[in-house]
């Protein structure tokens, strides 16, 4: 899959160096070590909460494409499929904290949790306030366990947007953390992978290719209906909430197919719920066969202001 003749260790640095050459002035390479690299937005953090995202490499525009104007302030990326190290996260946060504090946003995998947790501790020791938010939207993982045990999936793209908008609206660290925790509890994602030869659909395949929890032979409409059923069952949208629907194609599915699928999902969802918006795009683009990851966020009036308008990042709009 990865074609790195010169080794995986310096992968994130090469990646980011390419990004800087493509978009001069948009980002700054803050630091890079053997096992991770850090990219800052060139839009400085001034008297507001800083938002730092982090992840193992190789996710698609999320994570580093989500750094910039009206998006996250920095990203720390590890070697491919490896959480970035705690020290790099700590250093980025230290450099960006204006005194208003720092949000550490990541997908809930063990390595990412451990490193962000230690970064939070290192920051606390030096008097910086940081709050970590592990995103756990994947309903395919840890089924039957508590929500907090689940892994993160594509919902983090929306969470990043909310955090960035709330920071720019001047909210305090605690207010932003509470907002993100609410979103986290009202969000669900499922991976729907499809064997196109036989129309066999698998629901709930994991991020690291863990098997799904449900399989059947069905067409697009039925698949859309089942997807919406599984996701709304998880978040039980309230009547005053409006739903953000996000459709993220896996690598073998195209721009066109994501919209065709989106069309079915939209119809199926709107039959019983109010839709806030549908986002279609390759936000998180892990190599993952043919299919989609589909996310619902049930947004109340407190969350909705931070989901207004369209933000353009590198290779996506959300």
């Amino acid at each position: 899959m990865h074609w790195f003749s010169e080794g995986r260790e310096f992968y994130a640095r090469k990646w980011f160096t390419g990004m800087l050459k493509a978009h001069p002035g948009r980002w700054e390479l803050f630091d890079s070590q053997i096992s991770s690299a850090t990219l800052f937005s060139s839009h400085k953090v001034t008297d507001r909460v800083a938002v730092i995202i982090s992840s193992g490499g190789s996710d698609g525009p999320w994570s580093p494409g989500f750094v910039g104007e009206n998006l996250a302030d920095a990203v720390v990326v590890g070697a491919p499929f490896t959480a970035p190290n705690a020290y790099a996260i700590y250093e980025a946060a230290k450099a960006l904290d204006t005194g208003r504090g720092v949000i550490l946003l990541y997908n809930n995998f063990m390595g990412d949790y451990l490193n962000n947790d230690m970064a939070e501790e290192l920051l606390r020791i030096e008097g910086h306030r940081a709050i970590q938010i592990p995103v756990h939207d994947d309903i395919g993982m840890a089924r039957g366990e508590s929500r907090e045990n689940r892994g993160g999936r594509s919902g983090i793209a929306i969470m990043t947007r909310i955090a960035a908008s709330a920071s720019r609206a001047g909210l305090s660290l605690d207010e932003i953390a509470n907002l993100l925790k609410k979103a986290n509890s009202r969000m669900a994602t499922i991976c729907v992978s499809i064997d196109t030869e036989n129309n066999i659909v698998t629901f709930g395949r994991g991020f690291s290719d863990e098997p799904g929890f449900k399989t059947g032979q069905m067409g697009m409409r039925e698949t859309a209906e089942e997807t919406i059923r599984l996701l709304t069952e998880d978040i039980s949208p309230k009547t005053d909430e409006k739903i953000l629907l996000m459709v993220n194609p896996l690598r073998l599915a195209g721009y066109d197919e994501a919209y065709v699928m989106g069309n079915y999902l939209y119809d199926s969802l709107s039959a019983n719920y109010n839709i806030l918006r549908m986002n279609v795009g390759a936000y998180i683009h892990i190599l993952d066969g043919y299919g989609f990851t589909i996310t619902l966020l049930s947004a109340d009036s407190e969350l909705r202001p931070y989901l207004e308008g369209v933000i353009n990042g590198d290779g996506f709009s959300i």
Binding site: Q33, N115, G206
Partner: protein, 205 residues
């Protein structure tokens, strides 16, 4: 060795590092099956390039170096193992078996606090807890540093053995429950290699 000064401890750390590096292919093989194959890469070669004035400084540097250079789960956990027990050896110029046991116990508690693993979850904790209890038993009859570390190593080895039959309940490998049975946990293996390397170096006279 009843006790060791900073220099002896540094030599022991380097020996332990070499043992881990030598075991890397084996660790990688184990981790590839149940994890992502990046365990044990680039551990602590930098040690030899620096001088340290106390055991505290030495282990603090070891801990930060692990956190800084590794990424993934094991870097931060091994870092925690070396950093959380530092208070126990503050102001000491050398460590005997009692000091070492206090230092390691502090580290083990730190790993458990951060990682929230329970015994039986098939993690390094399943090597660390038996190491701690063997160490404590040994302390009843000796304060010899080498003897205490040998006991810890023995405990860790039996812990590694016990992880073979465990089902992962934490981290990436929990999602491949069936596939991990029969394989030891790579983090537990690293712990036993680390303690073995230290014991080896510090039980010579």
């Amino acid at each position: 060795m009843r006790f060791a000064d900073t220099t002896a401890l540094k030599i022991a750390m380097i020996e332990a590092s070499r043992a881990i590096i030598a075991a890397e292919p084996e660790l990688t093989r184990v981790d590839s099956v149940i994890g992502d194959g990046d365990h044990g890469i680039g551990l602590i070669e930098q040690l030899s390039e620096n001088n340290f004035s106390t055991p505290y400084d030495l282990f603090h540097a070891v801990g930060l170096c692990l956190v800084k250079s590794m990424g993934g789960s094991s870097g931060v956990l091994f870092g925690t193992l070396f950093i959380s027990g530092l208070e126990e050896i503050k102001d000491k110029d050398s460590l005997n078996g009692v000091d070492m046991a206090a230092f390691l116990s502090g580290g083990i508690q730190g790993v458990i606090r951060r990682g929230r693993a329970n015994p039986g979850d098939k993690t390094m904790v399943d090597a660390l807890l038996p190491a701690e209890s063997e160490m404590n038993s040994a302390l009843k009859s000796t304060d010899d540093l080498g003897q205490v570390l040998k006991a810890a190593h023995k405990g860790a080895l039996s812990g590694v053995e016990s992880t073979k039959n465990m089902v992962s309940r934490l981290g990436r490998s929990k999602n491949f429950r069936e596939q991990v049975i029969g394989w030891p946990d790579p983090g537990a293996m690293s712990v036993s290699i680390l303690l073995g390397g230290l014991a080896n170096s510090l039980s010579q006279d």
